[in-house]
């Protein structure tokens, strides 16, 4: 790369997007969509580490989002914890669960791994959905406020909830991108990426394949959990759908759509899949038809995902 590294360029691009996008927002509704994009982007970034770097697939990461979300819903009520501690608690529980189930699950390959993670996600969903006495069941439950707005009010600053969450999720997204990009260039990241190409080759040069996969799994679970916590705190309400299979599919699709190995791609994928339903409400009944079509077309014609495919095309056309 001439001049600046991919890492700096990506971080700069993200920061500029986060700072300048509000200029184009005609109403505060767009702050909400923006916040949702950043939150989904964070979860997708976690999957970039797992899918793009380490080459492992997961169809169950919404389960970890569910843990993060319900930690924020249950923690303050049952344990009397402040919301921020609950975010950390959710992340810790998700990380621990990923650590415990990761080793046996990650021994599996490709489709078997897909179905095992899918099973894990569905089990988490079922527990949330069925244990109504604790989680409110399918009806969901309310989530206590983060308390930042009332704090700001004390200083005479008034912001809408959507605006505040736009900036919070934007900063968290930047932090997530910073960690993921640093990992990419670290020895651990290079080890991770070596398994993507060939696990046998990676192990012959002394890489602890099982441990590296587990690391990626735990990292991605923590990302998904923090994303889930943010959604719960922003909406002040949470339903089991946050942990559902379709949400897992959405997260994986966001990751791969933008380019599985690209941190910027995760945000692009999240933007498309989050903004699309808002745009497609015009077509109402055709929403699913179009979503399915887009998923198939991108995967057939832009296999590496949007960002890497377009970057390659631009590089080729450059003199």
């Amino acid at each position: 790369m001439n001049g600046i590294s991919v890492r700096t360029a990506t971080l700069l691009a993200l920061a500029v997007i986060i700072l300048l996008a509000p200029v184009l927002f005609p109403s505060s509704f767009y702050y909400r969509v923006g916040a949702l994009i950043f939150i989904n982007g964070l979860a997708a970034m976690g999957l970039v580490v797992l899918v793009g770097y380490a080459g492992q697939v997961s169809l169950g990461h919404a389960g970890f989002s569910g843990i993060g979300a319900y930690a924020c819903a249950l923690g303050p009520v049952h344990l009397g914890l402040p919301p921020l501690v609950c975010v950390a608690l959710g992340a810790a529980v998700s990380g621990l669960l990923a650590f415990l189930v990761g080793r046996p699950i990650l021994r599996l390959k490709a489709h078997y791994l897909a179905v095992a993670t899918l099973g894990l996600g569905i089990l988490i969903y079922m527990v949330i959905n069925n244990e109504g006495w604790l989680t409110g069941g399918p009806d969901g439950m309310t989530v206590p406020s983060l308390g930042v707005r009332s704090l700001l009010k004390g200083y005479g600053i008034k912001v809408t909830s959507s605006e505040m969450w736009y900036w919070i999720s934007g900063v968290v997204l930047l932090a997530g991108a910073f960690v993921a990009l640093n990992l990419h260039n670290s020895p651990a990241g290079r080890a991770l990426r070596s398994l993507h190409d060939s696990e046998v080759a990676a192990s012959t040069i002394g890489i602890d394949v099982a441990r590296m996969k587990l690391t990626a799994f735990v990292i991605s679970a923590v990302y998904a959990s923090v994303a889930g916590s943010q959604v719960a705190l922003m909406n002040r309400f949470v339903t089991p759908d946050v942990a559902g299979f379709m949400h897992s599919v959405e997260l994986l699709t966001m990751t791969v759509l933008g380019g599985a190995a690209s941190v910027l791609g995760a945000v692009v994928g999240a933007t498309i899949l989050t903004a699309l339903p808002q745009v497609l409400t015009v077509f109402e009944d055709f929403e699913h038809v179009l979503l399915g079509l887009i998923m198939m077309l991108v995967m057939i014609f832009l296999r590496e995902g949007l960002v890497p495919s377009l970057a390659r095309r631009m590089r080729r056309s450059a003199p």
């Binding site: 569905i122 299979f245 994986l252 009944d285 055709f286 998923m295 198939m296 995967m299």
Partner: protein
């Protein structure tokens, strides 16, 4: 005892539907190495098309045949338009393509048909047959017969016909199959058509008992997939046994433990089987070529 029999009957009935889905899964997986998440949509199409053709005044048998044929076309289209062009793509891409196909077909059914639950009459009436204090619907016997019939037909097809062996050869080594003069593309098309037909048959048979709607596919795909994995993702026998097992485990759990967690137990069993025997109950281990 009669209670146990009742759970057994219901387990075998749903298990037979799962077995049909699992059989469809392995047909495509064997031929192309693709796990088709849209498999459940074939079942949905089978039921929905039959219902709407039947309500238009066509006799039930003709409506069922028509539905199976149309679903076959959908399977062939899936291969030609989505899986074929993406050949050589990564596993994750293929998973997303078939999930995309599943969402697409579900969306299409919702637009072309409707969002209601539908059923059409059973083949041999709705009078339950009583056996040992438990009852079973005649339609359940048709479902079980359908699964056994499909299994037997596929078994004979693969072991006793030249075309069947050609499909197996294609699955085993595409290049080698081409070298001995097998039209591998045709074999691939055939596998998708057969798989869709088996799925649609499941839809036609189950609808009088379980009803159908545009969104029944996903759950069925997951359970059928579970059955296929349990059976080792290879032989038709594994798929049949795996599907039946998932149905039985589910029914017993619903009966004796908790109906809320009946779906969970299927997945717990799958996770355990994968941990202990990563190649399923009847599968052989595959070597990774480096």
């Amino acid at each position: 005892m009669s209670e146990f029999l009742q759970f057994l009957f219901s387990g075998i009935t749903v298990g037979s539907v799962y077995a049909l889905v699992a059989l469809g899964f392995i047909l495509i997986f064997n031929a192309s190495g693709v796990v088709n998440f849209a498999q459940g949509e074939f079942v949905m199409l089978g039921g929905m098309i039959t219902y709407f053709t039947y309500s238009a005044g066509v006799p039930l048998a003709a409506a069922a045949v028509f539905a199976i044929l149309v679903t076959c076309l959908a399977g062939v289209a899936l291969n030609k338009l989505a899986i074929g062009p993406a050949r050589g793509a990564s596993v994750v891409s293929l998973i997303i393509i078939t999930i995309g196909a599943s969402i697409f077909l579900r969306g299409l059914a919702q637009v072309v048909f409707d969002k209601q639950l539908h059923r059409f009459p059973s083949i041999s009436g709705d009078d339950p047959i009583s056996i040992g204090g438990a009852t079973i619907l005649p339609q359940s016997l048709w479902i079980i017969g359908g699964a056994l019939g499909a299994f037997l037909a596929l078994y004979l097809f693969f072991s006793h016909t030249l075309t069947g062996k050609a499909v197996l050869a294609t699955a085993n080594n595409k290049l080698a199959a081409q070298l001995v003069g097998i039209g591998t593309n045709n074999m691939m098309t055939l596998s998708f058509a057969l798989s869709a037909a088996v799925g649609a048959l499941g839809g036609v048979l189950m609808t009088p008992v379980t009803l159908t709607s545009y969104d029944v596919g996903l759950t069925l795909a997951l359970k059928g997939f579970a059955g296929a994995i349990l059976g080792g993702m290879g032989s038709p026998f594994g798929a049949l046994a795996g599907g039946l097992l998932v149905g039985l485990i589910e029914a017993m759990t619903a009966g004796y433990i908790s109906s809320e967690y009946k779906d969970a137990v299927a997945f717990i069993v799958i996770l355990l089987v994968l941990f202990v025997m990563p190649n399923g109950l009847f599968g052989r281990s595959a070597l990774e070529r480096v």
